[in-house]
């Protein structure tokens, strides 16, 4: 019963939080560019407006994929709040990621096709890193279950500092921030228009936006596990991490997928390797 309440709580609270975070994100980005920026509630206005538009669809699959993406994202956050198994959560969110790619491939538009291919490469880049992070958490705490991880008496950050940076890479890719924003980005004036989201419009774009808020909360939730011992620690850690994301987003140019694959895998794997050896020796 308690678990059910937690799941529902997660599913309801997460999009609100995610929307607020993305509003603050846009505001801080604007300040960094010495602009004033939109109101913090702007993402909610955007989504509400999208839901008020006429439905234009290419085919049934596109709609189906958008919904599966949303449901998988919501479910993974719900399971996270319910302190379920990390591996289960990982597979649920991977389904969402794959369906987003399928939705892009379902439409004949070349922009959407290219965007979907690039999104697929992004998925390929961050999923192994997330698995490594989960595996290292298991090595420290001896469990994949979040409720047992929360019983561990020391912040994981002490044992796994490098793994946190690796998770930071996954966060940057998942949030589609520069230098990894090549499948789609918030300000979509780039050579592939809006990439994987090109053929979504109106309510379905709104659904994807909400799913994206869930994903933000999902990755931030995993980050929070690294300092679960104190509430202040969690808040400080998340605020610093997200601010670093925004800074990186504003100071980096977008790179190619080849660069991303080489760079993220080599650095990510090297850091995981060093951290795990150190864990083993220590």
């Amino acid at each position: 019963m308690e678990t059910l309440i937690l799941i529902i709580l997660g599913i309801v609270v997460a999009p609100v939080l995610g929307g607020l975070i993305s509003g603050v994100d846009r505001r801080i980005t604007a300040r960094l560019q010495s602009r004033f920026g939109p109101p913090i509630l702007q993402p909610f206005y955007d989504v509400a407006k999208l839901f008020g538009k006429v439905k234009v669809i290419n085919n049934f699959w596109q709609v189906f994929c958008a919904w599966v993406y949303l449901i998988a994202a919501a479910l993974s956050v719900g399971l996270l709040f319910a302190q379920s198994d990390l591996l289960l959560i990982f597979f649920v969110q991977a389904i969402g990621a794959v369906f987003l790619v399928m939705g892009g491939l379902a439409s004949p538009s070349p922009f959407s096709q290219v965007g979907a291919q690039r999104e697929l490469i992004q998925v390929l880049t961050y999923e192994p890193l997330i698995i490594l992070v989960f595996a290292s958490i298991f090595m420290v705490t001896g469990s994949f279950r979040i409720d047992e991880i929360l019983n561990y008496d020391q912040p994981l950050l002490v044992k796994l500092p490098l793994m946190f940076i690796v998770l930071g890479y996954a966060l940057t890719i998942k949030l589609r921030k520069s230098p990894f924003d090549f499948s789609t980005s918030h300000h979509a004036h780039q050579e592939i228009v809006k990439g994987v989201l090109t053929d979504y419009s109106g309510p379905y774009l709104g659904i994807i936006e909400i799913a994206h808020w869930y994903e933000t909360i999902f990755i931030l939730g995993i980050c929070a596990l690294f300092w679960h011992t104190s509430l202040v620690g969690v808040v400080v850690l998340l605020a610093t991490t997200y601010f670093a994301e925004i800074l990186i987003d504003n100071t980096m140019a977008r790179m190619t997928w080849r660069w991303m694959l080489k760079y993220v895998w080599s650095v990510g794997l090297a850091m995981s390797f060093v951290n795990l050896i150190w864990l083993h020796a220590g």
Binding site: P38, A48, K49, G52, K53, H187
Partner: protein, 144 residues
């Protein structure tokens, strides 16, 4: 209540798309100037999107001719309702100095319905922002 929120949001987040039907670039520069930190239209929720399927307001500059009329029509048709169209600059309004040319059809309104006309050669960024606000009045009109 939800409907009211959606209607309010419509006026708060106009995503614009900019199409250039062969302008001299004067008006285009002014449109893009609106997006710079100086005028910062993102304050009002405006985002410049490159995709007609995501756009609410279409800004058109330059003269229409038989060739780009098809493209303009196509872009207009791809935008989901409710949508607004703003014609910018003397060229967009009537053809401007190119009015009598053999290949110029005249104003944008010969091809697609226009909601707001922003005069000037080039139109000032302030006037363009005013035009977008005036186009939002159309969305407000949808409320009832």
């Amino acid at each position: 209540m939800l409907k009211k929120f959606i209607d309010n949001s419509r006026a708060k987040s106009p995503w614009i798309m900019h199409f250039d039907c062969g302008s001299c670039n004067g008006c285009d520069i002014e449109v893009l100037a609106c997006l710079t930190p100086m005028y910062d239209v993102e304050r009002f929720g405006v985002i410049n999107v490159g995709n007609p399927k995501h756009a609410d307001v279409l800004l058109v500059t330059g003269t229409v001719n038989p060739r780009n009329a098809k493209v303009l029509r196509n872009i207009y048709d791809q935008m989901p309702d409710p949508k607004g169209v703003i014609a910018i600059g003397a060229c967009g309004l009537s053809g401007g100095v190119f009015r009598e040319c053999y290949n110029v059809l005249g104003g944008i309104d010969k091809v697609i319905p226009v909601d707001v006309y922003v005069p000037g050669c080039p139109a000032k960024p302030e006037a363009i922002i005013d035009g977008v606000v005036a186009a939002l009045a159309k969305f407000e009109g949808l409320k009832g």
